[in-house]
């Protein structure tokens, strides 16, 4: 596996905070966690009606799912298994090598 399979089970959440309350709640949920902000670049830039894409590690995904549901914040999972997507993106290359 690429990167020693370190991204297996990691997910990218796509979250849609609708108002200031949800923005603040989201900052409270994600701020203390070791997450990787894809968009925007950091928790401090989260604002209402702007999509948040965040990479969450495998072990933290259940907690993030639970908290977002509990707070009724609108979200989806844009990448359900990051390792698979990485293998897929690089799969073309390895096949190229074979070619």
């Amino acid at each position: 596996f690429l990167y020693n399979n370190r991204y297996a089970g990691d997910q990218v959440f796509r979250i849609h905070p609708k108002n200031d309350d949800e923005v603040q709640t989201l900052k409270n949920i994600l701020g203390p966690m070791q997450v990787d902000f894809w968009q925007p670049n950091s928790a401090s830039l989260i604002c209402q009606n702007a999509t948040v894409d965040v990479h969450v590690k495998r072990n933290d995904t259940p907690a993030v799912h639970a908290r977002l549901k509990q707070e009724h914040i609108d979200y989806g999972v844009s990448i359900s298994n990051l390792q698979k997507e990485i293998e897929k993106q690089s799969g073309y290359r390895s096949s190229r090598k074979r070619r």
């Binding site: 993106q89 073309y92 190229r96």
Partner: protein, 308 residues
């Protein structure tokens, strides 16, 4: 034998550097290669100079790719643009006019250490790879490290944050080297373009404040023609405008620094997509993304040659 290179896959740093040497060797009439310095880990910072050789001092356009390591579509675009420029010089009168009248300085990988690290250890690394003697975290955000409203809103003072501005402006050798080159050539460099991902936007100054730039009409017109040209390829709609309002406030950015240092047209492209694949844009989308972006860059370069 004909140099075979696949422009529709992502390439490692080593492959990109070999390709640069090969382009310099095989396209010597249009392509020169030089280094502007060394990275934190000692890697050379290679730049390609593309354009018809000329004794007179030509206007220049600077394009850098790969400031943020994980944004692999950037380096793919820089390589694509060089290939497009060289291969269409004879066939396309528009490109021939650009290469006859302008010099393009193209830096396929700005953050060479970070890019290498994103291929080998951490696919989603963003920053450079400099060390901080007080913290275990490494790296500075190379787009928060330029000497313009440095480390203010939209940048972080914490070394472990992804938008860390660094211990001081131009602390990163990569930023210092490019700034030094642009300062030296600023009379000739009329446009600065930095390629990022992802958001499908074309951004211009200011990033650090909401004020309108003095030559707003000309820059807005160039941006509009660029996104119109881009749209014409595959119908993709880009948002465009001042970075502070179109995206968000950030300080220490390269486009603000270049603009403040006298370069009249400075842009940051945020290429595909808008989050579906994010940084993992499939190789199957390299072609369309680079084709449309090449049209936009040519439109900006044409604007540089016009009076505004």
């Amino acid at each position: 034998s004909e140099f075979q290179y696949d422009y529709e896959v992502y390439h490692s740093l080593e492959e990109i550097q070999s390709w640069m040497f090969e382009m310099n060797r095989t396209q010597a009439h249009l392509v020169d290669l030089f280094s502007v310095g060394k990275s934190y880990e000692g890697r050379p910072l290679y730049v390609l100079q593309v354009g018809k050789r000329s004794r007179r001092q030509k206007k220049a356009v600077w394009i850098d790719c790969g400031v943020h390591a994980r944004e692999w579509i950037g380096p793919a675009f820089c390589q694509w643009f060089v290939r497009e420029a060289v291969s269409s010089y004879q066939l396309d009168s528009g490109m021939r006019r650009l290469l006859n009248q302008l010099t393009f300085y193209i830096m396929p990988v700005f953050n060479v250490d970070g890019y290498y690290f994103s291929w080998t250890k951490d696919r989603f690394w963003r920053k450079t790879r400099s060390k901080n003697h007080k913290f275990h975290c490494r790296g500075v955000d190379a787009n928060r490290n330029w000497k313009v409203k440095w480390c203010a809103q939209g940048a972080s003072t914490h070394p472990c944050d992804d938008t860390y501005c660094g211990p001081f402006p131009e602390s990163e050798p990569e930023v210092k080297a490019v700034a030094k080159f642009l300062r030296k050539h600023k009379k000739r460099v009329k446009a600065y373009i930095s390629i990022h991902a992802y958001a499908q936007m074309l951004l211009y100054p200011y990033s650090y404040k909401y004020t309108t730039i003095p030559n707003f009409d000309c820059v807005e017109s160039a941006a509009r023609s660029a996104v119109t040209a881009l749209y014409a390829a595959y119908g993709l709609k880009y948002r465009y405008g001042p970075a502070s309002t179109t995206l968000y406030i950030s300080s220490g950015s390269s486009i603000d620094w270049a603009y403040k240092n006298g370069i009249p047209y400075t842009f940051a492209f945020e290429l595909r997509d808008t989050g579906h694949f994010g940084f993992l844009l499939p190789e199957s989308l390299i072609g369309p993304t680079c084709t449309e972006t090449t049209r936009a860059v040519k439109a900006i370069a044409s604007g540089v040659l016009k009076k505004c």
